[in-house]
Subunit: 412 residues, 2 copies
């Protein structure tokens, strides 16, 4: 089976947004072993969309659309497909109820054009949208499969993964099972990691090993194709052991885990509470923790002390430390972490202070960061970072590094 | 003139990287008034690339390629175009010297396949690459213009902007100027906003009005095409006035502004300092503020009180309030905001407390949020929200709403 992905939306052609959907869907199809030969982007124009559909039908078995399912009159994906295939659009009651429930929940009036979103292709399998209003569709017609997905990634991605992908997988079922597992690494560059496992990358055929880098993290996706799930996992674990014997020091988690979720998991498992004092990151570390459900078992709270005065007044960092060493120093970070641990009566206290940039601050160049971690036995661990001159990259990197230090400390 | 953008690379079709080049080039072409009707992505396959070129020739005047100019044997963009157009590839001496200089600079041996990168289409204008090795090309042939650009964004973007765009602009020069401005709205849904301005959307031709929604925000892009910049701005302001007479209550900014940057701008302009007490958002509000350079003029700091105990111990919220009204209540939010304002000695105190979800908490359903804002004159403003059962959507929405309330309070 081969596929073409058509993203619909003039905002893409105007360069207002990036077509991240094509990447997401492609990576998911790669897992299923479906070849993608083309991505196409077309605007909110019925005639050009129709031409794109005809072209895709001539060269692909599976055509996946994203976008153009919204309530407004320039949303015309399903209308154009219905007309092209000679199919009716019918009202889907489940979708209608869920749209009505949405408006009740947010306490906003529902307008007439929102009802349009509950219309689906007659005879399709409706894909539920748990993160928005427009339902998706899975429609087989004349040797082709058409999958219609909403444009916003936070609606499209879960719908593809949990609704469309299982349907596709069962359609594809050749008696072969594909299982994959992602290993997540931090603290090692992509080139260096690849060098360490080059011989495995070059010789492995089943499971395959696919590296990918983003935002300072590197992942390896290990994919086995075989006749039973048991056998697939046996192959995966065998390869995993080989990989970890080379680069296991940098492993922090699997699959959808993140540095924040791995940290939270370790803290909860070990029954430890945590509090945080933040300067340059200004709440980002705590907020990333709080994104993980269940974190209230470990995160008690913390303080954001953005100014030197607030470090003294709220955390009780001494004037001497600030005058002698500055706010970006090992001494200040240690004092902040010690004080926040005491104030919030937690097992662990963490502090981040530094220069986000782009300019310098307190005689330190942008990207200078001090991190202090006070362990349950009051042992102090500190780290100095020298990052870039990019404000928000620095803030995010400082947070990720801190998670990584905590994972290392809690794993030993 | 209308254009098609063809990105070449199997890594795009495998979902390993996102096609950000198409967005960048599209936004640049929009500034020049060139219509883009299609984006195409095709793999490192000569036959399918040739088909994509023929298709693009049938529907576009300008064809822009990115990717496939590298040294390896799967880089075949210029080879395929040369063969298709019956043109020779010749060695460009300037490009060759610059490749040799690059290898001297990084002190690495130059391999034979790197020389391939200095080959260009005979008769093209060579586009210098100041950030990598592969030169770009601007080639006119039989009513079409072909622009070949390297794939890596940090090479492609400056090459497009400083080399290709001026050549295109001089080719296009019809004496017509295009100016556009984005109006940013919050607190109104896309469908409702469109309903309010439907007649304008349907009748406007110059300027055009293009709506776009994402993450609870709606934007309108107003684009004028005319003979002078002055006239373009006159037309834009005229349309802007019409739009604002309908939906001006929801406007919060222009172009690249965000809710956080508009809030920061207003706070700094009015010489006001701010502190924040956060529960469900756990630092996200402060972190979003801290992403804006210059925010240290207004953000002093704040407290994250994730547990009921920390609300009492760190902020001094009374046990009575928590027992009688609960932690998710107007009374608790008001006490938190009042206390943080006093502790941090700021002009404004803000508090957010609520149930992030997915489950209920303290007898309140997921998505219940109380926001309190204490103004410089100690006036108290509170809002109750009923959001969804999606944890991180709720946290982000609560933060955005709070920014919006602050913008409204500071603008009146």
């Amino acid at each position: 089976m081969n596929a073409e992905i058509i993203a619909v939306g003039s905002e893409l052609l105007l360069g207002q947004i990036t077509n991240t959907n094509a990447r997401y869907i492609s990576s998911q199809l790669a897992e299923l072993g479906v070849n993608v030969y083309y991505h196409t982007v077309v605007g909110d124009n019925a005639e050009r969309l129709k031409q794109a559909i005809e072209l895709a039908e001539s060269r692909a078995d599976l055509i996946i659309f994203s976008g153009g399912l919204g309530p407004t009159k320039d949303d015309l994906t399903k209308e154009t497909i219905a007309k092209h295939l000679g199919t009716e659009l019918i009202m889907d009651q489940t979708a209608m109820l869920s749209i009505e429930a949405f408006f009740q929940r947010v306490n906003r009036p529902m307008t007439e054009n929102n009802k349009k979103q509950a219309l689906v292709l007659d005879g399709c399998k409706v894909l539920a949208n748990h993160n928005g209003m427009a339902p998706g569709m899975f429609y087989s017609h004349d040797q082709h499969i058409y999958i219609l997905l909403p444009g916003p990634p936070k609606e499209m991605e879960p719908m593809f993964q949990f609704e469309a992908k299982p349907l596709l997988a069962s359609t594809l079922n050749h008696g072969e099972i594909i299982v994959s597992q992602v290993l997540r690494f931090y603290g090692i560059g992509e080139a260096e990691l690849e060098t360490q496992i080059m011989d495995l990358l070059e010789t492995q055929t089943n499971p395959t090993i696919a590296p990918l880098a983003s935002d300072g993290e590197v992942t390896l996706r290990v994919t086995a194709k075989t006749s039973s799930e048991e056998e697939a996992w046996r192959l995966i674990h065998e390869t995993e052991q080989l990989l970890l014997s080379r680069v296991g020091d940098y492993l922090y988690g699997y699959n959808d885990e993140s540095l924040a979720s791995s940290t939270t998991k370790l803290l909860i498992e070990q029954g430890l509470t945590i509090s945080v004092a933040e300067s340059l990151t200004a709440g980002l570390f705590q907020s990333e923790l709080a994104a993980i459900p269940g974190v209230s078992q470990t995160l008690v709270g913390g303080v954001v002390t953005y100014t030197a005065d607030s470090k003294m007044n709220q955390l009780g960092v001494s004037k001497e430390i600030i005058e002698q060493y500055g706010v970006v120093s090992e001494e200040c970070a240690t004092a902040m972490a010690t004080r926040v641990k005491t104030m919030f009566k937690t097992n662990i206290g963490v502090a981040l202070t530094g220069v986000a940039g782009p300019g310098e601050h307190d005689h330190q160049p942008a990207g200078t960061v001090w991190i202090a971690i006070i362990l349950p036995n009051d042992e102090v661990v500190t780290h100095e970072l020298h990052l870039s001159d990019m404000r928000n990259t620095n803030r995010l990197r400082a947070v990720k590094r801190t998670f990584h230090y905590l994972i290392q400390l809690l794993s030993t």
